[in-house]
Symmetry: D2
Subunit: 463 residues, 4 copies
């Protein structure tokens, strides 16, 4: 890298999972709009074809005259090539295919267990962890050997477990996990500041919030805008809309969109615990299954759907068609900011600006009441070559205890994987609050889910 008057050139980014759409395209667009950075992006993906297509799109983008951020995209064949010389590494993979995801999310329905997302906790989250952790063990070792000084940005779920695994293998790794769930909650405030209080032009990033929790189960105990305490506003909002819901900040609305939600669960949890939930209802529900997911026929009354994997498959197919059109110049990529903060973070780590935002990092004490080294989500200060978590306080005790069950499970599933201890993995499975089965039933479900996804569990010696 070369630093030159507020600009940095020759940055090397390794993009693992470089054939993806969502995250890869967002990054390409954000890089394209940022004039202070330039360099190379190496795309690596098990599905070489998609990485190649993204390379074409990236380079097309760089060739456009209306683009300020010039990057050279290339595709590589191995993880090692991608990492070699990297300054930044983006990890954004899908562990397994939609087939495995279908088992994760929907198979437990046979046993009366309903999951809205199925990638974080619950039987789906745990089985997904079991096939993801081995990949991350490999990533961590490769980074340790090839580019130990590189910054590692993780976007893959289960977020907590992926980030934690990296640190488990290589405690000095400079890794952090990013998730935009918190942004959505900030958008709620921006939206309602206009509606409720008539304040215009509020940017999400101007909503000042103190973030506490673990990924997909984050909370605000303080939130303000230009010195004004917004907690009363949330109270007002929640009381006004706790029957009909509120989704004015969202493009994807329930029930039309399978990922829609109406904050009914957030409002309910706010009432129960007195603290503001800062993740989407579909994620929150999975942490309190007895209350929101246990009774199938009542799930939609909470303004959420079980997002069926078939929807994801369809979306993916549509996208591939769209990608072809872009490559063939039949359609043009719209240049607009993604709303993600990856590029801002890169700039901050290069010292071009300071940034305080929420990330997933091992607990050094930033969350009181959670174990040291468990990966938690709080604000952190990004500056020249440093991410320093900000001490964020603690959750209400009754809530904290519920979350600790998952923190302990996340720790144990990593230990189980490292030691290939499938008995321990199963014990974790039985300790998830979604599992109300007797021992034999839970064993049966576990074994069947393992069997459904065994192609991606060779690490475990499963046959």
């Amino acid at each position: 890298m070369n630093f030159d008057k507020n600009k940095v050139k020759n940055i090397n980014i390794a993009y693992i999972g470089g054939g993806s759409r969502e995250w890869a395209w967002k990054l390409m667009l954000d890089l394209a709009m940022e004039e202070s950075l330039s360099g190379n992006v190496r795309l690596y993906d098990l599905q070489y074809k998609y990485a190649l297509e993204n390379m074409k799109i990236g380079n097309q983008l760089s060739a456009r005259e209306d683009i300020k951020g010039k990057w050279k995209y290339e595709v590589v064949n191995t993880l090692e090539e991608a990492l070699s010389g990297a300054d930044f590494i983006v990890l954004s993979i899908l562990p397994g295919t939609f087939k495995e995801m279908t088992s994760d999310v929907h198979y437990p329905e046979k046993y009366g267990i309903y999951q809205t997302v199925g990638d974080t906790v619950g039987p789906g989250g745990i089985i997904r962890a079991m096939r993801t952790i081995p990949i991350y063990l490999e990533f961590a070792n490769a980074i340790k050997n090839i580019c130990p000084e590189a910054w590692v940005i993780n976007y893959t779920n289960p977020m907590t477990i992926c980030t934690d695994t990296l640190y488990e293998v290589f405690p000095e790794i400079k890794a952090f996990g990013c998730c935009h769930e918190v942004f959505e909650t900030q958008k709620v405030f921006a939206s309602y500041l206009l509606e409720g209080w008539g304040i215009e032009n509020v940017e999400r990033s101007e909503i000042n919030s103190n973030v506490i929790g673990i990924n997909h189960c984050t909370w605000f105990d303080k939130v303000s805008y230009k010195g004004m305490d917004l907690k009363p506003l949330y109270k007002e909002l929640s009381e006004k809309f706790n029957k009909i819901g509120y989704d004015n900040h969202r493009d994807k609305k329930f029930p039309v969109h399978p990922m829609g939600y109406k904050l009914l669960i957030a409002f309910d949890l706010y009432k129960k615990f007195g603290i503001i939930p800062a993740a989407g209802d579909r994620h929150l529900a999975e942490f309190f299954p007895d209350w929101y997911l246990f009774e199938k026929d009542k799930i939609t009354s909470w303004g959420i759907s079980i997002t069926h994997v078939s929807y994801r498959i369809k979306r993916s197919e549509d996208f591939n068609i769209f990608r072809e059109k872009i490559i063939n110049n039949e359609q043009k990529l719209e240049i607009k900011k993604s709303g993600e903060e990856g590029v801002k973070m890169i700039k901050a780590l290069l010292g071009l600006n300071d940034l305080v935002t929420n990330v997933n990092l091992p607990n050094k004490g930033q969350v009181k009441g959670m174990p040291i080294n468990a990966v938690v989500e709080t604000n952190a200060l990004f500056s020249k070559n440093g991410i320093m978590p900000v001490f964020s306080g603690e959750l209400p005790l009754g809530l904290n205890n519920k979350i600790l069950t998952h923190v302990n499970n996340q720790n144990a599933i990593i230990k189980a994987t490292v030691n290939k201890d499938i008995d321990l993995a199963f014990q974790v499975f039985t300790n998830d609050p979604m599992i109300h089965l007797n021992y034999n039933e839970s064993k049966k479900l576990f074994n069947e889910m393992i069997d459904n996804t065994k192609e991606y569990l060779s690490y475990w010696g499963v046959k």
Copy 2:
């Protein structure tokens, strides 16, 4: 107190709950058989009448010629009188009456929740804690003010919570909690050493075991007898009897006796976790309700019964008749050791012998993997004016995580009580693994159980 050549005279013991049978009589008998100690015992009980009767019995005992340990028993009217000048304090109370106990144990059955004992965890344990902690807050404050240097021996359940509350109020208190569940497991070994290996005359106290856990959910990771590792013996035992059960060490046999059990749950947990359970099956079951208690019709197949409170009422009535006969010299008290260790502990704390045995104490690190200051059960070294817990290692991770849920709940229910925060108390209630109800159902159950026992919940301002 006066020390004189291996004897200690003028010891003052305050017995709170001094009208009780079980523990009071055991202590009186053990004191009667110990020649190195003498002094006064002050009995205090809300039911003055029973304390008075025990006083008579105690003094009758001291008057007998075949008795070596001479003590003077008296009854006092207030806690303060009992504590004044005390060297040792025994806490052994029943919080509430059988009416409240009936609600604790049996009321949740309406909601499909079955408890074998109902005094430790589960809805019964939590409600019982809610009426016990206020009493213990009072005890702790009184001890702090009146006799801060006295040793405090707790026998009341919920053991963990009672002991913890004392330390919460008065961190310098010299208190510890005693439970005999571990002894029963040592008796299993003594019994099977004879049966299985033909070794005779093994005393329970010769079974050398490393104890780890929390009260009523304790485990041995090491156990030996005269240098012989007994873990293989337990494996043998468990494999041989995991269908038919083993209860040769017990007077009270299932299904005849409502408190009988056959180690079927212990053997099953040993198989699941690879470590030896060291509490009775009726207690263990409550920590793993999905496996042993969730399906009503299968409970007895595990060799345990739901001990109905009516049995306890009957036993109590029988005993009161028996007590009358003793007082009226119609029957004579048999002099024999109780098998409890209270008197041995007192001797050790007076420096008359060293003793290593299991007790409940705040965690100073003796159990790795559990929070510092949570009350845990491990061995401790008793010596002249000191109880020093012994570093005992840790439980297997998958098991530890299951127990942590209870440890966290126990901490939270104390905090809830101290702050009279009934919302937090209810959050704890919903976090118990026995509660699989939706929010409204769990709230209904909680409120009804509170209402059933409200006479003993005035501290909470419940009406």
Copy 3:
């Protein structure tokens, strides 16, 4: 307080030590230049006269037309009046008089112990702590009772001990300690960026630094300016000037000014430990007395002087004359920013802007390698009603160990004071690295210093 469109009115500030010049005037000027804030300042001082004079000056200032920040100043007679209704509290006192300070700084010279400042560590720092802590115990109790929600800004030395005492008494206090030593080091960088690298117009606050340490012994392990790593610049600077010294950033130059210094000690410590010292040489020297202060005749060769208290007395007298002139309108106060950050901090705590700057706070983990709850100095994020320390890493082990001696002493001197345990206070005294005396000599010195300052040690029962 009232919030209204980026402005906050009716703020109440309590200024304890409100008769002081340095800090009180700085605050008055900074408030005068800040248009977004207004309200009342209550001045309280044992020397009522000086508080009264400052009141006049403050109100004169508010009356000026060229002033944007309008405040009403008043004098109160008691601590309680000052604190009543306070939103912010400034603590800026002189514990004792110049007479006591003279004993602190110069009396140990009789025993061959030389101190450059004598207010932080060493015999002077410890005796000063012994008369300051009792005052802070009183402050903390008063704040706890009268205005527990107020923000407390401490400027008094010994900084670490004052801040720690507040938290010792009232753990929920919203207090922090501010010191400008770190700013001076940032100015070195700004100055040398111009000189060495030709970069103009660098503001101190643009120097991005990661601060680690305890007050007056702080260090930078990272420092950058607009993305450029400045560690190589410091290396260059230190190698170029390690003989002749560098003080271009300072008004007060050695040897002309008694508080001058030339960075010779900073450069030397940088060479010894490989990390950038971020406090003035006069303070740093006291933490490494064997190297810089033990041999009297070599002290000035390090570019520092023993700042004699007579200089402070003279400066104070000059100032009182100047103050009279201001009040009598013979001279006019120049309106300029103080360079301190107190007002910026207040704005940030009111939510008017975010701020990351260095402060003294109990260690929640922000400094690894130092005890939890010891007061340390690092960066913190100031935002709406919250100061959240930023996790700052750790010092090199060999350096950390040297500082731990002081951290441990600081903890112990507070415990000694709380318990009025003068034996422990003396043990702390003998554990300071400046004390190379045998037991009797050290006892003699301690007793004499106590006797010299006994008028301000009545708390201890010293006669």
Copy 4:
């Protein structure tokens, strides 16, 4: 090993440093007197000749008819052979020769630094650590690879550092360090119980004491004999003999014997800190050098001598002559217990008896106020395959802080050695309270001591 009715056969002991006299002979004699154990002892020593001679003596001993414990002694050529198949490992080496020891102890005298022993702390202790730690790194790795399940008994000094290094390399090692200093203090009590209170036949091991501290700087906060508190006895003793000293429990008396001492330092420290010192005066003095060692001409007034290494050389030569006589049957080895507890410990670890005694182990919390994992000396419970430290409380704060300096140095010198960081080693050196030199002088002394002992510092790359 074979267990058979309270006896254990075929035990394999590896004795590293097997050519030594003191510890090897003590072990051989104690084994000879113990009928429940038998097996093989493999002696390994860099000085093969002495190991061979000890082998002959050991086998002669086993051949004697009056001997109950039959062992076969053999000499091996490599560490690997010694460790192979070992059940127990004894580490008892002299790192370097008397030449290096002479530099350690006496060379600093040129700089006015006097050491009574010079093997624990101070310049001698640190340089000795620098040549010992590399050897222990090798031991730990070999044990990890060859016999990870063996029990490791360390007798080598610096005790704390040797034990800590083993755990640093191999955290699961089953190692502990043994020292008899505490026994001497127990003998003081036994001796004075007779003299002062007329109680006869008290065994050292009957003195019940709670041990807290680090090796050679241990303390009793509780001590009793058959229920009698002995603290008042120590007070009486110290007040009666604080001028003339007390050494009735010792064979080696000051000033005749170079290792004599009279408890004058112990009595003085007791007065200063109010807790009973439980190590010999010659060791204690080195932890408080300003008080006892700084002024050369006053050292003997404390009833201790600088033990000159020439004495050790002479003693060694005498012993070699004696050893020859034994081998040649010119003299016969007297069979008597050594007073050490190694064999008792082995029996306890085999489960043949329980034992509570003092050992050096990593801090799991047994000493509050000292860092977790620092090696501390407290009581521990030895039982079948387990050593469990006993929670022992904490030292008075002022004393604890003084000892923490050494604890921190001990940690740092190990880190320095592991990383071959000689700069850090020197920083540790300057942080020892014996070093009052300026930087250049301390550097000179360090370099000269390194140079003096460089033959044994090849690990460091020193030439």
